[in-house]
Amino acid sequence: MHPENSVAGGALPHPSDGYTIPHTHGPEEVPHTHPDPGVDPHEPLTTGPRALRVGIGGPVGSGKTALVAALCRALGDELRLAVVTNDIYTTEDADFLLRNGVLPADRVRAVETGCCPHTAIRDDISANLDAVEDLEASLGPLDLVLVESGGDNLTATFSKGLIDQQIFVVDVAGGDKVPRKGGPGVTTADLLVINKTDLAPMVGADLSVMDHDAKARRGDLPTVFLSLVEDRNATPVADWIRTLVATRVPAA
């Protein structure tokens, strides 16, 4: 047991911390256990640094699954990657990825979220962590795990306990006011993707207004415009991820 390797919150008492064993229990005491301080109770981590985890959030229909498919197309040959989807009711998103053949079935896991897609990515991330760990256990070391949220509203963001970086996807079809409305997704995501720019003329959305509002909301955080029907490989997003993977300082 190396204390510096223990995960957050899971640090064990260590003999050098003044932990004393053995000790005796009085007869009235409720039976209880004491861990052997020499034994690490944590499951062994897969060897090497764990995969970079990128969360993809945003309202329903903004193009999250289409973006995941594009990233699989763009990065599937250069990175060892896997995907976790969080459908609200079904396994629709996972099925879409499989149908479109962008990723083999053993690289996609669907998490069920019990009516609360935001809970599953923020307040109680256990099922998503299980899915990520199961993927790493069955596939071996990975470079990148994409976690697609079930799609909620502008307030749903990922917990840092689940992901390293998050992308928030909105679309121009929802109107050019969305960046101005803000919310934690728009203001704090590590990358804001404004998708479906091909539809802008049809809905009368002014991209320069969206760009201006996004900059005002986000300060120095990056924003990219995208049309997944025109750029099937989501080039600016794939490049952003490539940079993250390349410059990543592996988790201890």
Partner: protein
């Protein structure tokens, strides 16, 4: 229960503990869809039935695992044989795994299997938290009703105050079941309660085949 920290029990039994419960309806979704549960009275009957069957078994195994945490494997097997539905076994193990994950960040946990049945995990966690079998049992009984009750609010659009009124009325029953369970915490595994609810088993199996559902179980 002398020397037990009540606040620790509250932390463990809090519905906001990130231990996977929010995705499960405790079998209610299947019964709602079958038309057996439509209103508050039916939810009350459902919860009472659940408490008397799977609640009793859960409380007994939580108490026993708390009293004898090192026997988690035998208890886990005992609960497996009391859970005929594969879908319910899966749901119970998923929630046990999630609870153990949360507990590792909260207390110093002994080594166990990774995905224990939820009541066994709960007992082991309660022991690690310094709680006794009676506390573990009451947390198990309470969890049996509270998870399904919150699913009832979401599935049926019931008045949340009315549902909590129901939970308050069921509390003495939870205490009674937990006390019974704790009194048997030292019984051999084979002698622990084995009450079953066939409709819950059947419902869970059907539910697992649906294409569209709100809850994982």
């Amino acid at each position: 229960m002398s020397g037990m920290s009540l606040a620790t029990l509250l932390v463990l039994a809090d519905g906001r503990l990130p231990s996977g419960g929010h995705a499960h309806s405790g079998g209610l979704e299947a019964q709602v869809s079958a038309g057996r549960v439509r209103d508050l009275d039916a939810v009350a009957d459902f919860l009472r039935g659940k408490l008397a069957t799977s609640g009793l078994v859960s409380a007994a195994f939580a108490a026993a695992a708390c009293a004898h945490p090192s026997e988690w494997a035998a208890l886990d097997q005992g609960l497996d044989s009391r859970t005929p539905s594969p879908a319910l076994r899966k749901a119970s193990r998923a929630q046990g795994r999630a609870l153990l994950r949360a507990a590792r960040a909260m207390w110093t946990m002994p080594l166990t299997g990774r995905d224990l049945h939820q009541p066994v995990a709960l007992g082991v966690v309660a022991a690690a938290a310094g709680l006794g079998p009676a506390a573990a049992a009451v947390a198990a009984a309470h969890g049996t009703t509270s998870g399904a009750a919150s699913a009832a609010v979401r599935l049926l659009g019931l008045d949340p105050y009315a549902v909590h009124g129901l939970l308050a009325r069921l509390a003495p029953e939870c205490d009674r079941i937990a006390a019974d369970a704790a009194a048997r915490a030292d019984d051999p595994v084979d002698d622990l309660p084995a009450a079953g609810a066939p409709l819950l088993d059947i419902g869970a199996e059907l539910h697992a085949t649906w294409e569209v559902r709100l809850f994982a179980s």
